[in-house]
């Protein structure tokens, strides 16, 4: 079978001067708007305030559901609701094509999508179909005072620098946003907003078919929701070495995480990886055990309230990013901490 490739247009598909407003796509799961989508109202409203424009959230959901309430309570000015049974199942190109049509009608200057797995899958398709640029996994935004362009901020490899990306000519400016970097805005149930029911959309027939879906039961709290995280790195030396990390986590009523090196070594799963190439976490207490503290790792714990570190190397960079650092062998220090916690409990 032969294929054709679309030729990019010379001129932007949407004219810059016609585009106005901030739009956020709401990922809906199990009958509610995903919290990480609502988090985007924090940067979204701030940018909209600086530009003097409205913030609109796009929701694909049944009309009678409560799903239009949450965006308004958390700060959206408007909700665009698409109620169509053909959108019950998510397919990246079907959802993408519908979102493209809404963008073509509404002409926002900025479109934000939460950087969940589905978001990261769909957003580049939307950007490409609109023939605009997109920045992945942003951790911050700024409005350029002169051009009014929205600078999309992300750490390039290494996380020692933050790149400010601009989309000077094409619209909308687009970004996926790293989950848990922004706080959920306060919920205000007295807030009012407009809900617009969108109709007359061309909803394409999916060529992909979801045959079955199997829920994976999680025994534990995900690391991004944990109050205490005890995290192991290369310094724990082996899968067995992680046993003490697990024991300490359980004493703190916390959850086990790890550095990239611990994940690469196969001691811990990728979904527990903290750092730039893993997850951003925001526990009250983060304990780094045998983690040297690369810039990429430290980037993932910026939102932690208190950081403690245990490392044999007094020169380890993790001590520069910790509130309380203990120089010592974790095989001696961790059992001593466990012992102290147990004693104070009696």
């Amino acid at each position: 079978m032969s294929v054709t490739t679309q030729i990019p247009a010379k001129a932007p598909l949407l004219k810059k001067e016609e585009c106005k407003g901030v739009m956020i796509f709401a990922e809906c799961l199990d009958g509610s708007v995903n919290e990480v989508s609502l988090q985007l109202l924090t940067p979204g409203r701030k940018i909209a305030g600086k530009l003097g424009v409205e913030t609109t959230m796009v929701v694909f959901a049944p009309q009678d559901s409560k799903l239009t309430e949450a965006p308004i309570f958390y700060g959206a000015d408007r909700v665009i609701l698409v109620d169509d049974p053909r959108l019950k199942t998510y397919y990246p190109n079907v959802y993408g094509d519908v979102l493209v049509q809404i963008v073509e009608r509404e002409k926002p200057e900025l479109l934000l999508i939460a950087g969940t797995l589905r978001g990261r899958e769909m957003a580049p398709y939307v950007a490409n179909t609109l023939e605009t640029g997109i920045t992945a996994d942003c951790t911050g935004f700024e409005v350029d005072e002169v051009t009014k362009d929205v600078l999309q901020i992300r750490p390039p490899f290494g996380a020692t620098q933050l790149a400010h990306i601009r989309t000077p000519k094409r619209r909308p400016q687009m970004a996926t946003v790293r989950p848990n970097v922004f706080e959920l805005p306060p919920r205000d149930e007295t807030r009012k907003g407009q809900v617009k029911l969108e109709s007359g959309l061309n909803i394409p027939q999916p060529t992909i078919e979801l045959v079955s879906s199997q829920e994976v039961k999680k025994e534990e709290i995900a690391i991004e929701k944990a109050r205490v995280l005890v995290s192991g790195g290369k310094g724990v030396g082996s899968r067995e070495g992680l046993g003490l990390v697990e024991e300490l986590a359980s004493e703190f009523d916390g959850v086990v995480a790890g550095s990239r090196k611990a994940v690469d070594a196969g001691w811990i799963t990728h979904e527990r990886q903290v750092g730039q190439t893993g997850k951003t976490v925001k526990p009250t207490l983060y304990v780094a055990v045998g983690i040297s503290g690369s810039a990429q790792h430290v980037f993932g714990i910026r939102e932690a309230k208190v950081v403690a570190a245990i490392n044999t190397d007094p020169e380890a960079p993790i001590f520069e990013s910790a509130d309380y650092g203990i120089v010592g062998d974790y095989r001696e220090i961790v059992p001593a901490i466990i012992d102290r916690i147990k004693r104070s409990r009696h």
Binding site: V3, K10, G133, F157, G158, E209, V228, D323, Y324, G328
Partner: protein, 268 residues
């Protein structure tokens, strides 16, 4: 039924050995060897698995500077049938939009094929964009985070399994289609030294420049990129207390020091 596969790969600096300049805080890239993006090797392994089961050919495509040739040789050593290196100054400094366009045009030239496979992301820029963007240019159905695939008997369709945050989904897609292989799935096979040497001597690698592709250079490279890096600033550090206790002589004292401080913070 044989499945003819195109795998897109990227030639990247080996970021696991990149060091940070202690005075400027920037990356020292000089002298850092490049490698095939490790997450792309999972995609290559996925393709090799399908070829073992159903037959067909595997073509690896990279848009990179000329040095990437040795990376494509490595993939031939792993078992890929041939490599195509797309290299031209007119394609340089492209963002993912302009990169994906050149890749799509190159892939179109390689058609007919049944399947295009991508790695989940690169270790040097981690965007995860290219799979969806190429699929958008070519109008092909696509799905990310794929771990397994099988051909549906007697039908030009694939049944694939993919992993999301809290579920494992099974889909059917008509071929041709694009699949983005989940990182850490499909552990790449080791490559033997003899295969490596043979690949170096015999690898069928074509080099395509814009003389081959004949693209309008206003839509490629830096000029064709909608995004630009406006500036780069050092990541501000988070203020931390940086208190230190030497626990090498007395672990119990160190433990007491930590727990007492955490108690003061209201954590215990």
């Amino acid at each position: 039924m044989p499945v003819n596969i195109i795998v897109c790969v990227k030639w990247v600096p080996n970021t696991s050995i990149v060091n940070v300049d202690p005075t400027t805080g920037t990356l020292i890239r000089e002298g850092v060897p490049s490698i095939i993006n490790p997450h792309d090797l999972n995609a290559v392994e996925f393709a090799l698995g399908l070829r073992e089961k159903y037959g067909g050919t595997i073509t690896a495509v990279a848009m990179s500077p000329p040095a990437a040739r040795s990376g494509l040789e490595f993939l031939v050593g792993m078992g890929v049938d041939r490599g195509v290196l797309i290299t031209d100054r007119a394609f340089a400094a492209a963002d993912t939009f302009a990169t994906s366009y050149v890749l799509a045009k190159a892939i179109q030239r390689l058609f007919p094929a049944d399947l295009i496979v991508f790695g989940q992301e690169t270790i040097d820029s981690s965007t995860s964009h290219i799979g969806a963007q190429v699929s958008s240019w070519m109008g092909l159905p696509y799905i990310y985070y794929v771990t397994d695939a099988e051909v549906v008997d007697g039908d030009h369709r694939l049944r694939v399994k993919r992993s999301l945050e809290a579920e494992i989904d099974t889909y059917e897609l008509p071929m041709p289609c694009s699949l983005v292989v989940m990182m850490k799935s499909n552990t790449p096979r080791p490559i033997t030294l003899s295969k490596k040497l043979r690949a170096k001597l015999e690898a069928p690698i074509e080099v395509w420049t814009n003389d081959t592709l004949k693209l309008d250079t206003t839509v490629t490279g830096l000029r064709g990129s909608p995004t630009v890096v406006a500036k780069s600033v050092p990541t501000p550090s988070v203020p931390r207390k940086k208190q230190r206790f030497d626990g090498r002589k007395n672990a119990a004292e160190a433990a007491n020091w930590l727990i007492d401080n955490l108690a003061k913070e209201g954590i215990m």
